[in-house]
Amino acid sequence: MSDILVSEQSASGPGGSGRPSGRLLEVDDLRVEFRTRDGVAKVINGVTYHVDAGETLAVLGESGSGKSVTAQTIMGILDTPPGFVTGGQVRFHGKDMLRMSDEERRRIRGEGIAMIFQDALSALNPVFTVGFQIAEQFRVRRGMGRAEAKKRAIDMLDQVKIPNAKGRFNNYPHQFSGGMRQRAMIAMSLALDPEVLIADEPTTALDVTVQAQIMDLLAELQRERQMGMILITHDLGVVADVADRIAVMYAGRIVEEADVYDLYAKPAHPYTMGLIESIPRLDEKGQQLRTIKGLPPNLMNIPPGCPFNPRCPMAQPVCRETIPPLLQVGNARASACHFAEELVNRV
């Protein structure tokens, strides 16, 4: 894993509430902006979510919604500049990581929280063998000798079901197929037995039969190890199969959070509703596809009021004036829509 570090340590004073709650990983009112030559883009505008051991939280959103930037901030791999954390906390076991020293954060990376990426070919180092890259962690972080580290690395390749792991140890990433590379990256991220795994679009670049294999593998490993998993995706199909809870992001905010069954059965935000109605389904014949009109807002110039209002079929005058906060609707779900109650209570 690379050693890119973030120098920015929570620039502007306390943002979150700071209370310990016994949760595994919590993002609390996080705010991130990108300072560019063209202006300041407000990429994350108060994101709050958490994940506990053994649980899968899916973070769903279009490109530019801030789902990946949140993950990068958690991992401490946000590019600074242009990205700056301007508020909030990221707590791991109750401790704010944004205030930790570089050394403390480095210890959490890999052992506490690990991440896998969409594009395994660019996430793996092309000039080292796959085996070396996995074994390196055991040598550097666990102080193992060469032979023992190799044994452990082969064991990891076995666990992610790479056939002939021993023979594959000395292969370079380009000698692996797309699915195998993804498996190798999973092996690498799980080598130090992390408590939380962040998977950022892990199967987007893969063919559908391989995607199914990889999702099965991730689910199995998560169950065995009782990891907390944050699955970042735009694919409502994948989410329906594996998630426990879903947080929907739009323009740097969580607009809805709910249990997976509730969310699909009755979305409590017009944006979620639009997303669900716009997927072509394999199991439906003569389905009329709908689309969400318009584009996500320019993050340098987010419209006043609800950021979704220009595209919302239900928008009222209040939506153009007041930003709807993320509030509880019914039990165990929340929505940031002025009309959430009506949406949930409709028949």
Binding site: Q211, Q213, G237, D241, A265, D283, K285
Partner: protein, 311 residues
């Protein structure tokens, strides 16, 4: 539906694999398309699906005469297309439209969205006279949920999803033409859900061969080839209540190399039904017992994978 306007027979396209710089020698062949036959009817949309490396894009290139076939023929209205040139070739390309799903490689980066969507009308000026073309393009943009104001933007200024919509808008522009002129489409895609929505007939490809071909219902509701069944079962259904009552078939391993495909049936190395005969005999694409449409499996058998319901 009338008779076939395009007849593809035993089509083969191999690419040589060479070694050496000055003295190149051929050390093998990539068998991208390896014996494909089908007919395309006037006015129909044929979806071609398969995973990366199955040969669907090569097939498309040969159909449009962008590549010469190694063997076999593509016959358009009784004439072999490899003999066509000039005006006759343009007529062929006008009559048979190719739609590629990949939103990154199928849009010309030097053309604005207005140009991209206006192109079909340029080829068929009868549908929209020059003056009304911009308005027509705006209408299409609005139809697929894109801002008509963005008519002068280039593809790179759109997200992946939006690019996909541009592709769909282009297909829609053609759909109007399809009704009026009886155009035929070949829709090349990897997304089985999208193909279901747009196609009359569907061909499923694996390692350079068609393994199953049939109407939309035949392929999606009564698939008989194990690969089609596995492919359909792998598509995630966006409905968590279906989690536990879905047929799940998980293939193991990867697609073998098209340079040295397995003997006999090419799918046998990943197939749960494989027997000795599968390694010895290439299964022909034909109607078999247990199948009401052509399937290239010695053990073709109907199996419901996707519980389809009408909406």
């Amino acid at each position: 539906m009338s008779e076939n306007i395009l007849e593809v027979r035993d089509l083969v396209k191999h690419y040589p694999v060479t070694q050496g710089v000055v003295f190149k020698k051929t050390v093998g062949q990539v068998k991208a398309v390896d014996g494909v036959s089908f007919g395309l009817r006037a006015g129909e949309t044929l979806g071609v699906v398969g995973e990366s490396g199955c040969g669907k894009s090569t097939l498309a290139r040969v159909l449009m005469n962008l590549e010469k076939p190694t063997e076999g023929s593509v016959v358009y209205k009784g004439q072999d297309i490899s003999t066509l040139s000039g005006g006759a070739l343009r007529r062929l390309r006008r009559q048979i439209q190719l739609v590629m799903q990949d939103p990154y490689t199928s849009l010309n980066p030097r053309m604005t969205v207005g140009d991209l969507l206006g192109e079909p009308f340029e080829i068929h000026p009868e549908v929209a006279p020059k003056g009304s073309r911009r308005a027509k393009v705006r209408e299409l943009l609005d139809l697929v949920g894109l801002n008509p104001e963005h008519i002068n933007r280039y593809p790179h200024q759109f997200s992946g999803g939006q690019r996909q919509r541009i592709g769909i808008a282009r297909a829609l522009a053609l759909e109007q033409l399809q009704g009026e002129f009886g155009l035929s489409y070949v829709f090349i895609a990897h997304d089985l859900s999208v193909v279901r929505h747009l196609s009359d007939r569907v061909a499923v490809m694996y390692l350079g061969k068609i393994v199953e071909i049939g109407t939309e219902d035949e392929i999606y509701e009564r698939p008989t080839h194990p690969y089609t069944q596995a492919l359909l079962s792998a598509v995630p259904v966006p409905d968590p209540t279906q989690r536990n009552n879905k047929t799940i078939i998980r293939l193991t391993g990867d697609v073998p190399s098209p340079i040295s495909p397995p003997s006999g049936c090419r799918f046998r190395t990943r197939c749960w039904k494989a027997q000795d005969v599968c390694a010895e005999q290439v299964p022909l694409l034909e109607i078999r017992q247990g199948s009401d449409h052509p399937s290239a499996c010695h053990f073709a058998e109907k199996r419901e994978i996707v519980a389809t319901h009408e909406v």
